[in-house]
């Protein structure tokens, strides 16, 4: 057995103290610069925080890859969803003219937007890939109104930090930070491959967040809430999937 010298003991002690100290400073800085995700607690909180912080620092301004028309998937795959309820079917029969997007929360001018209101704003067309957490993917052309433009229309208040968005099925919702919400490719999507967005792919209105996994691209969007904290919404974790272990930040 080798002897533990006093010098070695002191060095180790100083190193450990410095390590713990710098971790504490890093945590403070991360909180201040908004690098801590809402699901930072629990067994995998460290990993979630590292994923979110690292990718926020690395990719806050970068654009998701866009593809040429030739790469659009011939057979895109629409993941199964719950069958639409009667209210949805009535709106569908009316060509979704009665579909409304309610915008509320920390905004200067809350209100209801119809699909034609959304289409009167400048549209963006992008060919991006839907990437499922299971591993499969497809490429499609998505046409919609940038969420950033909608947020500008309603006037986001300075204390806002997140945007939560809800499906027609109120149990299905999700949220992104304001950086992702204001990213030019985050799209309130109403068109796909030169036509209306099919119901199977989330029509009439789907949130597309192409820098994150498919489960953040919630279908059948009926409302948006701008908020300064996710703690007061639903389970407080920013998305229902977090209860089943699915990361709130889905850039990986």
């Amino acid at each position: 057995m080798s002897q533990i010298s006093r010098r070695k003991l002191i060095t180790t002690g100083v190193a450990a103290t410095a390590g713990i100290g710098s971790l504490a400073v890093a945590a403070r800085l991360a909180r201040r610069y908004g690098l801590i995700p809402p699901d930072d607690g629990g067994l995998y909180g460290a990993g979630e925080t590292l994923n979110y912080a690292a990718q926020r620092l690395l990719s806050s301004r970068s654009l998701a890859r866009e593809f040429s028309r030739g790469m659009i998937s011939k057979a895109p795959f629409a993941n199964a969803v719950a069958p639409p309820d009667d209210h949805f079917k009535r709106l569908q029969a009316g060509g979704f003219s009665g579909w409304r997007l309610a915008v509320s929360g920390l905004v200067a001018r809350p209100g209801l937007l119809s699909l034609s209101d959304l289409k009167s704003l400048p549209a963006r067309t992008q060919i991006t890939e839907v990437v499922c957490e299971e591993g499969w993917s497809y490429i499609a052309e998505w046409i919609g109104t940038p969420l950033a433009d909608v947020l500008n229309e309603v006037g986001v208040l300075p204390q806002a930090r997140y945007v939560a968005y809800y499906s027609a099925d109120r149990n299905w919702w999700d949220s992104v930070d304001l950086a992702e919400a204001r990213h030019p490719q985050s799209l309130l999507t109403w068109g796909m491959n030169d036509g209306d967005l099919p119901v199977g792919f989330g029509g009439p209105l789907r949130m597309r967040v192409p820098r994150q996994l498919g489960y953040k691209s919630v279908k059948y969007i009926t409302s948006l809430t701008v908020t300064d904290s996710l703690k007061n919404l639903g389970n407080g974790l920013g998305a229902p999937g977090a209860e089943f272990g699915y990361s709130w930040y889905a850039g990986i």
Partner: protein, 258 residues
């Protein structure tokens, strides 16, 4: 078996042998032992969670995109945890992706940070130059053949082996360290949509996201093969003595003990 192979593969130190062997010198330094076992834990977590994630879509494609409407490059004939995947099995496994993905990425961080510590250590202390890069006498095909012949004849190991590595070990460790681990990290990161936005070349150079996923599967497989070979060699070389060396650092039992 284990005593026989220990004498075969790992001769007990005899005084007077040149170079002199000091039983007090650790075979593995504390940093190597710590990073080794952290890597074992992280790799096992990555393997289990990786298998769970594959079960949700046991089909592999080549190119940028692929899904159940696309012809796969190959499929694993296992049941899936998603009813949308045609497997031929009449049942669907429970969904384990939530915790599997979280564990996978947290373990990847642990492995990356452990690897950084290890790389700084082997560069800073000369461990890389002394024990991992091939020594002057180990840089020929003949040196490799000699080791293989030695293994096949179950001949005693060289005198240097209790405190260093032979040509084959060095090549295997270097390959894992500087080829397989960087590749598995690269192909894994190439599946992250946000990382691909930041560094599009990471995925484009691999031929697309589905190619990256398929390569990630094969590189992981290569790492598992290394693990199997590594554990087999440890077993043949004397499981207890090698484990003792990697846990306590001591090379062998002191000569006065049986």
């Amino acid at each position: 078996m284990s005593t026989v192979s220990r004498t075969l593969w790992y001769p007990a130190p005899v005084s007077g042998i040149n170079p002199p062997f000091n039983p007090g010198t650790p075979r593995h330094s504390a940093v190597v032992r710590l990073t080794h076992w952290l890597t074992v834990i992280a790799f096992f977590a990555l393997l289990v969670s990786g298998v769970e994630i594959v079960i949700s879509h046991p089909r592999f494609y080549w190119g940028e995109s692929g899904n159940v409407m696309t012809t796969p490059l190959f499929s694993l004939h296992i049941p899936s945890s998603r009813d949308t995947v045609p497997t031929g099995y009449g049942y669907v496994m429970p969904d384990q992706n939530g915790w599997s993905r979280a564990l996978h990425f947290q373990s990847a961080w642990a492995l990356l940070l452990t690897g950084l510590v290890y790389c700084l250590f082997i560069l800073g202390t000369g461990h890389l130059r002394r024990n991992l890069l091939p020594a002057p006498g180990q840089r020929s095909a003949r040196a490799f053949w000699n080791v293989i012949a030695q293994y096949l004849h179950r001949a005693p190991a060289d005198e240097s082996e209790p405190h260093s590595y032979n040509a084959l070990q060095r090549a295997a460790y270097l390959g894992v360290l500087f080829i397989l681990f960087p590749l598995v990290i690269w192909t894994g990161l190439a599946m992250s949509p946000a990382f691909d936005a930041a560094v599009p070349a990471a995925v484009n150079m691999l031929g697309g996201r589905q190619s990256a996923r398929t390569l990630h599967f094969f590189v992981s497989g290569a790492l598992v093969l290394f693990l199997l070979a590594h554990v087999t060699m440890v077993y043949l070389a004397g499981f207890r003595s090698r484990m003792r060396a990697m846990i306590t650092g001591r090379a062998a039992l002191p000569p006065e003990l049986p």
